[in-house]
Symmetry: C2
Subunit: 90 residues, 2 copies
């Protein structure tokens, strides 16, 4: 989970995740939403991938990124646990 928290700490990476929640995208489609270089985008994507939050598949020359739903939902659970009050029990 630590890598998930770190992945979410960066606003660019949260924006990438939000974009991907709307559906799969290639790297260049994602890149169109940002001002930094492709190498920098690649670095952010690698962090999201290391956290398990995204999955990739190749489609010809492109790499398609999508949210990894099972991990995303585990993360949602862990994060909401962080905010759950003590008195609320499962």
């Amino acid at each position: 989970m630590q890598s998930v928290w770190e992945a979410l700490a960066d606003p660019h990476r949260r924006k990438i995740l939000s974009l991907l929640k709307g559906g799969e995208m290639s790297v260049s489609e994602i890149h169109a939403h940002f001002d930094f270089s492709g190498a920098t985008l690649s670095h952010h994507l690698a962090k999201l991938k290391a956290a398990g939050l995204v999955i990739t598949r190749r489609k010809g020359q492109q790499i398609i990124y999508g949210v990894h739903m099972s991990v995303f939902e585990e993360a949602a659970q862990a994060v909401s646990d962080m905010f759950r009050r003590e008195e609320e029990s499962p």
Copy 2:
């Protein structure tokens, strides 16, 4: 909200928040749960405070920290928005 995400990115700070969810504590009470110096703890507390996640009051020589509930709940909302699926509408 950015400072909230940054505050939550560090495991020590998440642990501090968890401790405080169990009730208010002085700095030295919090310190008893960690191995690093008081100065380092102070740095982490300052980040939590900058994010608005905790509030403080003085009690004699001690500073008592507690979770700032209204901000904590706003943060919970923002975080859960991050994880909400597109198709789920409010």
